[in-house]
Subunit: 539 residues, 2 copies
């Protein structure tokens, strides 16, 4: 099965139960499964105007995700892409409507109009005050007599919902809903069709093309256009919207039709705000998946001209999971880069013994180039010797720029040098080793302890434990033995290096990806380098 | 182009700018484009411990979407699936770190460890207090020495972030972060690979299979398993997690890897809570796209054993768009269906003149069956006559059960009868007509006005205007002329019906989909039926 559903029959009730379970107790449902699927506010006391919406499923989080204080009171959920029955809508209305009455918010599809319409009549026969508005925000075809209801519906939910929550009466909510519908426009675009459970996915949109002006039920868009990325997609969508947008403040709602990545949606948001209508957009809702067509790889943009008070109603806090908030657009704040990105370089200073010590170590590594490469060829790409020798040559070249007389600063300077010349993971790890040692040294620790701290830090970052077949297997025993003298230290390093040739499992570093049988009998090249350095120092 | 991006080079900066622009002024960025991409809290004053995280991009909303009071202070964004540079991380640390220090939260990938690790050393060289934790919550392979960092990272962001916001010091935040890491486990599953911009999509997972134990960079999962829907997917994921979950309270985080529909994610949430570990899950985060792998059609489940105080920290309010909140799990509240779903049936009553009147009307429709079918064949599927005649026959059969002596109730009863026997849009519309007329009649309006209100309601729901080639073209003039007498009314209905034969554009009802040339010269069958009824009544 190419979807995370169980059966076509149960998918809507299971999804609703998942939504309710994850709502923190804020949602409830009516006891009408399988045919009557109505999600209601758990805290509803019928003291205010009720808002009921719904329609086919497959548009999640619409509509159950918008049930909560400040938006819908109930959502009536049909099968995927099919209107709920009259009985289901009636159950929703009767369950939540009190003396203040009920506003039905219906997307302009024949089935929804008829079923919500008849349910409204039945509810009126019980004496309930029920009004109904029909949302037709689609601008795909400018002269379409029956424009579809798309994500602009959410403006209606939000503004009428905030008013109802604030205690406005049914007439005021209905008038506002009608006004919002008139002020709202939407257009959708998609790169692919959607996967309707139980149906074969239609392969309708050729590679390199997109559909513009589509609905939310997988039906074909009004035209196929070339697909040339995010800027072009927004330009084509805006072309349909711009002429309907007076140069007054608007709110834009950026909706993921279900299958676009969050990365793409953010790029589309960027392009919309940078587009020719961007300066008219003063508030934005999303980008987020709000009114989806299952997994459709597309988006829709809805715009609404703002009237006085709308911004406050759109911004009012709500308690429903689907609403991502409505945010004012501010220019992007760009802060200066902090000082200190260029590493601190201590002033050069001369110190002959230190220069000789360092140069000697470097020469050991240079002389070991071929041997270490040969060892590395057993477990890696055979360049450990060249990497270390290259770094050693660079250090010799840089010797007279180093703070040789200030050992604390010298650690850090060597770390910096290695991070810039050595490259790769080992360069960064040795840079961390020396930087941490320098840090410890600057706080007054003696050399051995400073080096120990460098090793600890390198191990934390590199993740290598003793026995993992890395340079740690030589360096750790060498530092442990240092209080006993360099001879002991060198012997410990050598023993540790030799020990790596017995290890068949490599758990860190590159050799982790090598067949264990290939490793046996070969010393790890990093451990060998450490052993040779300590043997040089002891000699 | 099969994605809403512009160029591979600019996609990360454009996405970040979109995120910041849609943040309502809560986010800012450093002036380091194109290489240094750091998103910071716009309101940050360095008075508390700073939390810095990040890594490769392509995981949106991670990490920029989690920057805000109560979670991250800064997010450092690399290229898609590539670690940010040491300089970028250092810029992030230096930009937000004050005397309280900085906690780095790093997912366990070599590049991130090294680059964040070295940046930490550099920042320490400036005297900053910096600690670093490495998240390794993946349980794909139980003995993996270097488990990956997955969506469990968000538990660390949230708990350490809440503590930092509450004024806890760096040590306390670091200890808590380490504890949360030890308590967190994640497993991922996907039905398809992801689309990496600029790369050909790998077709790795055969139809009917899924990958279990995958990372968030498109790398292969540790095993391919049969895919048998949502319950099975959760069972397989739980198999990996259950043994690591003591029977104490846990929080679960249900993460969309990017390409799963909201419907599927809700079903997965339902299955997780209904699974054998469901009773251990006391809080849930999501389902939502939080740590994605671009557009991967998959999910991950992260669980964390709750320690004292964790629930409060997880539930603490945050100001960042990516966090969907952490909700307590309550049993699903199921409310009884409201009374009144069975329509109110007024008691039958006899009234000979009304019975004769109604029966006569029905007989007109029955006699017209063939004519109306023939007219409908020009513009529809040729069944209008049979539909109306069938309803008329059913009404005659039901005559003795109707409240014939109570005209107000009779309207409603006819409406109910039609909605149950007639079917289709026209049945619902006529039901609405009679129900609304009955409603109006019950509030004391005379017959003509009640019928007018029925017509208005039917037009609102059906969307038909005069000239749209529907029964409205005959019914509206007939009702308008009623005060002048039935003769005038019948003449007006006939004129209206005949007028429909001149209409080439149908804007409502089924004929809207017919070629206009096919319509000319033919009367609309619904309008013809109305004309015949009024002609009968006038005769």
């Amino acid at each position: 099965m190419k979807q995370f559903i169980n059966t076509k029959e149960n998918m809507v009730t299971e999804a609703i139960d998942g939504t309710i379970a994850a709502s923190g107790g804020k949602l409830a449902r009516l006891d009408g499964y399988p045919h009557i699927r109505v999600v209601v506010r758990a805290d509803w006391d019928k003291s205010k105007v009720a808002l009921v919406s719904g329609g086919g499923s497959g548009h999640e989080p619409a509509h159950a995700g918008f049930v909560g204080a400040g938006m819908l009171t109930a959502a009536v959920c049909g099968d995927v892409f099919a209107s709920p029955s009259v009985d289901a809508v009636l159950a929703g209305i009767l369950a939540v409507t009190g003396p203040a009455g009920c506003l039905l918010i219906v997307k302009n599809y024949t089935g929804d109009r008829l079923n919500f319409g008849l349910a409204a009549e039945r509810a009126r026969a019980f004496g309930h005050k029920v009004s109904m508005v029909i949302v037709d925000d689609d601008v795909a075809l400018p002269d379409l007599p029956q424009a579809r209801g798309l994500a602009g519906t959410l403006f209606v939910h939000k503004i009428a919902g905030a008013m109802a929550e604030n205690g406005d009466d049914l007439e005021a909510c209905t008038i506002a809903a009608e006004r919002v519908i008139k002020a709202s426009r939407s257009i959708g675009m998609s790169l692919d069709t959607c996967t309707v459970p139980g149906s074969v996915k239609e392969d309708r949109i050729p590679h390199g093309m997109a559909e513009l002006g589509l609905g939310i039920h997988g039906e074909a868009g009004v035209e196929q256009v070339a697909s040339n990325g995010a800027k072009d997609a927004i330009a084509k969508a805006i072309e349909k919207l711009a002429s309907t947008m007076p140069s007054t403040p608007h709110v834009a709602l950026i909706n993921n039709l279900g299958g676009s990545s969050v990365l793409e949606m953010s790029i589309l948001a960027h392009e919309l705000l940078a587009s020719p209508v961007g300066d008219r957009i003063k508030f934005v809702v999303g980008p987020a998946a709000m009114m989806t067509a299952l997994d459709m790889h597309g988006f829709s943009v809805s715009v609404m001209e703002l009237a006085e008070g709308d911004a406050a109603l759109l911004g009012q806090q709500v308690a429903c999971p689907g609403w991502p908030g409505c945010k004012p657009i501010h220019p992007i704040q760009v802060r200066p880069l902090p000082d200190g990105l260029s590493p601190i370089r201590a002033p050069a200073s001369a110190h002959a013994p230190t220069k000789a010590f360092l140069t000697g170590c470097c020469k050991v590594l240079i002389a070991s180039e071929d041997d270490l490469n040969a060892l590395d060829a057993k477990s890696g790409d055979g360049d450990t010797g060249s990497t270390l020798a290259g770094a050693a040559r660079a250090l010799i070249d840089a010797m007279d720029t180093l703070p040789l007389a200030d050992h604390t600063q010298l650690y850090r300077a060597i770390g910096l040098e290695l991070s810039q010349t050595m490259g790769g993971s080992s360069g960064v790890l040795l840079a961390i080793f020396f930087a941490a040692a320098g840090d410890a040294s600057s706080s007054g620790l003696p050399m051995r302890e400073a080096l120990q701290i460098g090793l600890d830090r390198m191990r934390q970052i590199g993740g290598a434990n003793p026995g993992d077949r890395t340079m740690v297997d030589a360096l750790m025993p060498a530092l442990d033995a240092l209080p006993l003298g360099l001879d002991h230290s060198a012997a410990a390093a050598r023993a540790g290096a030799n020990f790596t040739s017995t290890l068949t499992v490599a758990k860190a570093g590159r050799s982790a990806y090598i067949n264990p049988d290939q490793l046996i009998g070969h010393v790890d090249p990093g451990a060998e380098a450490v052993a040779r350095l300590f043997e040089h120092l002891a000699s």
